[in-house]
């Protein structure tokens, strides 16, 4: 199984785990990325992910194919949320099955690291202070707030 998905709904991690289950495998490694209540010194209330869907889907699938090719794992799956998320929600989930644990750990780490740097997905954080900002796009955010008395601090 090689499957990448984008979802506006809560990720049912247990259902995904069942789909990956494979009696030829001795190991299953999963990673959950959660919505955290702080970033760069700001208290986060909630956030939005925005995805360039067609390219995110093709690039996500490419990352999973690479993981299978590089590490020889049996099953790989990844789901990334988009839309509005609350604190504690699972923002991204990765699952890997393999005959042995070493390659499952390595492939899982590879997938989440590549997802973070390659998928065209953006995160807007809404802060307790009332401000908001696109993470990693601080110069844009600074522009947006040029006309306001308090500029948004640079982000991530």
């Amino acid at each position: 199984m090689i499957e990448f998905d984008l979802s506006r709904e809560r990720i049912d991690t247990e259902a995904w785990r069942r789909r990956l289950f494979d009696q030829t495998c001795g190991g299953y490694v999963a990673f959950e990325g959660w919505v955290r209540d702080h970033n760069e010194g700001q208290q986060v209330l909630r956030l939005e992910y925005e995805a360039y869907e067609s390219l995110a889907r093709s690039e996500g699938r490419k990352i999973l194919d690479e993981a299978v090719g590089k590490f020889g794992v049996t099953g790989v799956a990844c789901v990334h949320r988009h839309g509005a998320l609350e604190l504690g929600d699972v923002a991204v989930w990765v699952g890997v099955t393999a005959a042995h644990r070493d390659e499952a750990f390595t492939a899982c780490r590879y997938i989440i690291d590549e997802v973070k740097i390659r998928l065209p997905i953006w995160k807007k954080e809404h802060y307790v202070s009332g401000d908001s900002g696109w993470v990693n796009c601080e110069r844009c955010a600074a522009h947006e707030h040029d006309h306001e008395p308090a500029a948004v601090p640079a982000d991530g």
């Binding site: 990325g33 925005e50 390219l55 093709s58 973070k116 990693n136 796009c137 844009c140 522009h143 947006e144």
Partner: protein
């Protein structure tokens, strides 16, 4: 003149004040088009911090533009 369809996401959507537009341009490649649009919309980021997609695939900045191409300039991502 070529007609190019441009789609904006995230910070660029906010800055441009629109989700998409069709532009008529003499720009030869995405680098030239970005320079025009950055000037028009004050997108606020240099091309060196961006990637570009043409027709839903990552593309080189000097890929020749063709009439009807769909372009997305991709500001720094923050998935995961």
């Amino acid at each position: 003149m070529k007609r190019i369809h441009v789609q904006y996401f995230a910070a660029f959507r906010d800055r441009a004040g629109r989700e998409e537009e069709t532009v008529e341009t003499d720009a030869r490649d995405p680098a030239g088009l970005y320079a025009e649009l950055e000037a028009a919309h004050s997108l606020g980021l240099g091309a060196e911090r961006l990637k570009v997609a043409v027709n839903d695939e990552f593309a080189a900045w000097d890929r020749p533009l063709e009439d009807g191409d769909r372009i997305v300039f991709i500001p720094p991502v923050a998935g995961g």
